[in-house]
């Protein structure tokens, strides 16, 4: 088995009192496409932030080729970030710049290529995501799905070998979805890209993934191959993959307090009536 590219070792993360991860472990291997599954609000986008070193974690280590993000100085961290293309959930295009300028920015900043070459690259990548005719538009003039595709094109401009996609196909029509799916597939097959892909779309998850990991209640409840996720009897996986209503997959923080709150009481007041003093 090859050395893992990224290792998550015992990650814990809290936002105030709210637990997002508790003792999370995961290895990501070079060249694989790993799909992260999980309910809305389970911490998928946050996980990508942790991997980029944007967010301080409360415990554990993120190892990149064996080196902890915590130990990296500015330059090392920058070189890690430069090697990764990130598609944010909303696209995160710079609103003050046209698509053309958005795409040109990272290349201008980090390479010596002349403006003509950069412009050509921008056109090529926009063509790949089907946005070439919109090259001179500002993000405000684009739809949500177009922004997302623009963000994807920008993520590809530095020709990264590692890609993080946050729901690349959410909100896209079926044809665009297929187009983006094929693009992701090509990046993997032709360039050997390593991808971490967050998605809710089970069809593209199964189509693109080498492995899948299901995030639930601060941990990976299941990590396995497409085959495993298709066939396992694990009720959690079954419920999520098949989209059933009944099962263990309830938003855990809502589960018990809901009834109590509706009745106008706090949960901890419910069990034993009154305290003795």
């Amino acid at each position: 088995m090859p050395e893992p590219l990224i290792q998550l070792q015992g990650i814990s993360k809290y936002f105030g009192d709210r637990m997002i991860y508790h003792d999370l472990h995961l290895d990501i291997f070079p060249g694989e496409t790993l799909v992260i599954l999980g309910g809305s609000g389970s911490g998928k986008s946050t996980l990508l932030r942790v991997l980029m070193g944007h967010l301080k974690i409360d415990a554990g280590h993120v190892l990149i080729r064996g080196r902890s993000l915590n130990d990296m100085d500015r330059r090392e961290l920058d070189s890690w970030r430069k090697s990764v293309g990130v598609l944010f959930q909303t696209g995160a295009l710079f609103n003050s710049m046209t698509l053309r300028e958005n795409l040109a920015l990272p290349v201008r900043e980090h390479t010596d290529l002349d403006d003509q070459t950069i412009d050509l690259m921008a056109q090529i990548y926009l063509q790949l995501v089907g946005l070439r005719e919109h090259i001179d538009k500002l993000p405000a003039e684009l739809s949500g799905g177009m922004k997302k595709r623009g963000g994807l094109a920008r993520a590809l401009m530095m020709q990264p070998r590692i890609l993080f996609y946050d729901e690349p196909t959410a909100g896209l029509d079926p044809i665009s979805t297929a187009q983006i799916g094929e693009l992701i597939m090509n990046l993997k097959n032709k360039m050997g890209a390593t991808s971490v892909l967050v998605t809710h779309d089970m069809q593209s998850a199964f189509q693109l993934a080498d492995r899948l990991a299901l995030l639930f209640d601060g941990k990976f409840a299941a990590i396995g191959s497409v085959e495993y996720f298709r066939t396992t009897a694990d009720p959690l996986v079954r419920q999520f993959v098949d989209g059933r209503l009944d099962g263990p997959f309830i938003n855990p923080s809502d589960q018990c307090s809901y009834k109590a709150e509706l009745l106008g009481r706090k949960l901890h007041e419910v069990p034993h009536g009154k305290k003795t003093t």
Binding site: M52, S79, A92, F94, M158
Partner: protein, 256 residues
């Protein structure tokens, strides 16, 4: 209390970070053109918009000063000395301060809102994800532009105030324009100029740095942007007055 210390600590850290990033931003081979272009855009945005307002306000302040002061001097038959006082007050104090307040309303608020919106739209994070330092890319051009434009604005404001004083003197105080000008020029020393412009430069840094700082600190959507934008205006004006007091005391102590 702890929050306040942390707040100031963070702010000074940003100032240091900005200083550190100025060199690379303006000199490193490839980034240079981009940085200069950025600087130019920011100078236009922050400064040029404020010119008409600063001119108008300072014109009025010059006239008001002249009209307020003249009766006192008239008692001693020294009406022309009005020009001296207008000149000193303008160049040493009113010019930099009033221009700074106008720029706070225009440039400061706009910067805070702009950067805050970028935070909310994940743009800052995206920038960091591309290994582009937001301090170098966003803060440095704004702070440098703020410093330069503040000095220019102050010069414009000074001249407008002197002109306002002149118009008031000629129309209401029956002072000759030649007499006014001669008096004003005679009293002004190089030191008055320099102290006024030095203040202006520091004000420019203060305005833009606070705006960037509070912009980057925005949390939680459009509401956060609005909150920090108004905070920016209030904090900046308080900071301007405090720093002005410190400056004036130091200049007084040094005898300039």
């Amino acid at each position: 209390m702890r929050a306040a210390i942390e707040f100031f600590g963070d702010f000074f850290y940003l100032l240091l970070d900005t200083l550190r990033a100025i060199g690379p931003a303006l000199s490193s081979g490839r980034g240079r053109l981009l940085a200069w272009r950025n600087l130019w855009i920011q100078m236009n945005r922050i400064g040029v918009e404020s010119i008409p307002i600063v001119s108008l306000v300072m014109f009025c302040i010059g006239a008001i000063l002249a009209i307020q002061i003249a009766p006192e001097f008239a008692k001693f038959g020294m009406v022309p000395v009005t020009a001296d006082v207008v000149a000193l007050a303008t160049f040493r104090e009113m010019g930099p301060l009033v221009s700074a307040v106008v720029m706070t309303g225009f440039g400061g608020a706009a910067i805070a809102a702009e950067i805050g919106t970028m935070v909310v739209g994940e743009e800052i994070e995206a920038m960091e994800a591309m290994a582009i330092d937001p301090v170098r890319f966003l803060v440095v051009p704004r702070v440098v532009a703020g410093m330069l434009m503040m000095v220019c604005l102050t010069v414009v404001g000074d001249l407008a105030a002197m002109f306002g004083g002149l118009v008031a003197s000629v129309l209401l105080l029956h002072l000759g324009s030649l007499q006014y000008t001669q008096h004003a020029l005679a009293i002004l020393k190089v030191g008055d100029f320099i102290t006024g412009l030095a203040k202006a430069a520091v004000f420019g840094v203060l305005i833009t740095a606070i705006a960037c700082f509070l912009g980057l600190k925005v949390r939680g959507g459009a509401e956060g942007v609005g909150l920090n934008t108004s905070k920016t205006v209030v904090f900046t004006i308080v900071a301007l007055i405090l720093v002005d007091l410190i400056f004036t005391s130091v200049f007084f102590y040094l005898g300039v």
